[in-house]
Amino acid sequence: MRWRYFKQHAFFAIVRLAAFSIAAAIGAFLVYILVNGIGAISWEFLSEHPRESMTKGGIMPAILGTFYLTAGAIIIALPLGVASAIYLSEYAKQGPVIRIIRVGVNCLAGVPSIVFGLFGLGLFVVFLQFGSCILSGALTLGFLILPTIIGASEEALKSVPQTFREASLGLGVSKWQTILRIVLPNALPGILTGSILGIGRAAGETAPIMFTAAAFFTAKLPSSIFDEVMALPYHVYVLATAGTYIEETRPLQYGTVLVLVALVLGVDLIAIIIRSYIRKKKRW
């Protein structure tokens, strides 16, 4: 008996160690970024253009660029994703075709972002001749998060109890009105959570925008969607790998990393809070 409990204690100790080492790694990482980055953060850093070959000044164009790209991506992916999910889960006859489409969408959600970058390069930049610009980057990021948004929206739609649909249809309400007034409102928080996580993902991705939108440095802010932009993740990459002043610009790098991490994790945190709120509120 004692031996059995010894095994249990040993196992639990290992499990706790594993779990807490992960938590500790994340904690240490965030603290490290915060401590090293906070010194660089000032109003000037957030609101000014870079100066002197990006060794001084701020990162405002990169923040703005990331905002444009992310906003563009969600504007493309959200309507497409939600409407597709509505078709797949509310209208389509469930059969082998729909099952294959679902598996396909699911697999595409796992395709590496660099592959999406190649696709964006091939289709938007080269084939459609948009060039490297906000439009190409936003489309690429939009399609990158499209499978995730379809998946999350389908999940949210499926979680609306079938009895709600039956009750509404049983009252002689049409299918579209049922979807619009009963299904969508109840699925909305779930769709929202998925979309916000998509926003976080789009904002933090580097590989898809490297060849489709991001510029090393732009002297002016973009004036149309056919201009190249700077973007936070790419800025981090460029400052850390290219150029002759890598060591000198470390504070700027840490500052940029801190802004990017705060932005992405902030967005994710909003999604997590919304979700825990719905889980508590849900009654059915």
Binding site: S113, L118, V126, R250
Partner: protein
């Protein structure tokens, strides 16, 4: 009757949009192939995959990506060695052992880790880990397999942990109760009943975690060192496929052989992650435990 027409129109609008999405997603595959296939006019598929010389800018160039494939697999395997035990054990902790309050905190923390931009981890690897590794082990460069694998592991852990946790969580309560009622300890119940019942979900989690690691770009681009050669030790540099694509695409002239070769590398990478995902899907459906019986 008017309403019926309206309903039909609405349904067809949704059908149309769904088709647009599916076509777009299909286009990804199509464009990858359109831009990648032409390289096989200058190099055979066999030489492309198994050739060990990757000199795309030499004259004449040679396009053999075997060392890139090996690089990808090595960092993925090393990352798995770290990430699988950490991820699965964390899932066991969250699902079975953690007190409710810690569980509430732990799950979002793991999720935040999943959301960390990869460029940030790459940056951390370059700025902090590499100098430390170099000094500690007295090696020529800290940008190597060990460094990249540790960071990739960090990226794969949330995938493995959260999917495994779902699988553990969905093991019916009745199984646990039956085991406890037979006098098993919590450890025995976890090891003999819960984990085996959740095994298909855990396998899915592991496969998807590995798929995430093999496709990850920024970390390997920044910290794997970039040497296109077969490594001899875990402190050697490698050049995994995503790193090669990301690093060279900027310089490869449009529609040159080099450009096509990079797209072809993308096809291989796509094929690999696709098979990982298909296997995961198959495993999760095929071996799904049928829940508790209903009367």
């Amino acid at each position: 009757m008017k309403r019926k027409i309206k309903e039909t129109i609405i349904k067809n609008i949704f059908l149309f949009i769904a088709l647009v999405s599916i076509v777009i997603l299909a286009l990804i595959v199509i464009f990858l192939f359109i831009e990648g296939i032409p390289v096989f006019k200058v190099v055979s598929i066999k030489d492309f995959i198994f050739g060990i010389e990757w000199y795309p800018t030499y004259d004449p160039p040679s396009f053999g990506i075997w060392s890139l494939i090996v690089g990808s697999f090595i960092v993925t395997l090393c990352a798995s060695v770290i990430a699988i035990p950490l991820g699965v054990l964390s899932a066991v902790y969250i699902a079975e052992i953690a007190p409710p309050l810690i569980k509430e905190v732990f799950k979002p923390v793991v999720e935040l880790l999943a959301g960390l931009p990869s460029v940030v981890l790459g940056f951390f690897g370059m700025a902090v880990m590499a100098p430390w590794l170099q000094a500690t082990f007295d090696i020529p460069t800290g940008l190597n397999i060990v460094n990249a694998s540790m960071l990739l592991a960090l990226m794969a852990v949330p995938t493995i942990a959260s999917i495994s946790e779902d699988a553990l969580y969905s093991v019916p309560q009745e199984f646990k109760e039956a085991s406890y009622a037979l006098g098993a300890t919590r450890f025995e119940t976890i090891a003999r009943v819960i984990v085996p019942a959740a095994l298909s979900g855990i396998s899915t989690a592991v496969i998807l975690g590995m798929a995430r690691a093999i496709g990850e770009t920024m970390v390997v681009l920044m910290v794997a060192g970039g040497a296109a050669a077969i490594p001899e030790s875990i402190f050697d540099s490698v050049r995994p496929m995503p790193a090669s694509i990301a690093a060279e695409m900027g310089e490869a002239p449009f529609r040159s052989d080099h450009y096509h070769a990079l797209f072809a590398t993308g096809i291989i990478l796509f094929g690999l992650t696709l098979s990982f995902n298909l296997i995961a899907d198959y495993v999760s459906h095929k071996f799904k435990e049928v829940g508790s019986a209903t009367l």
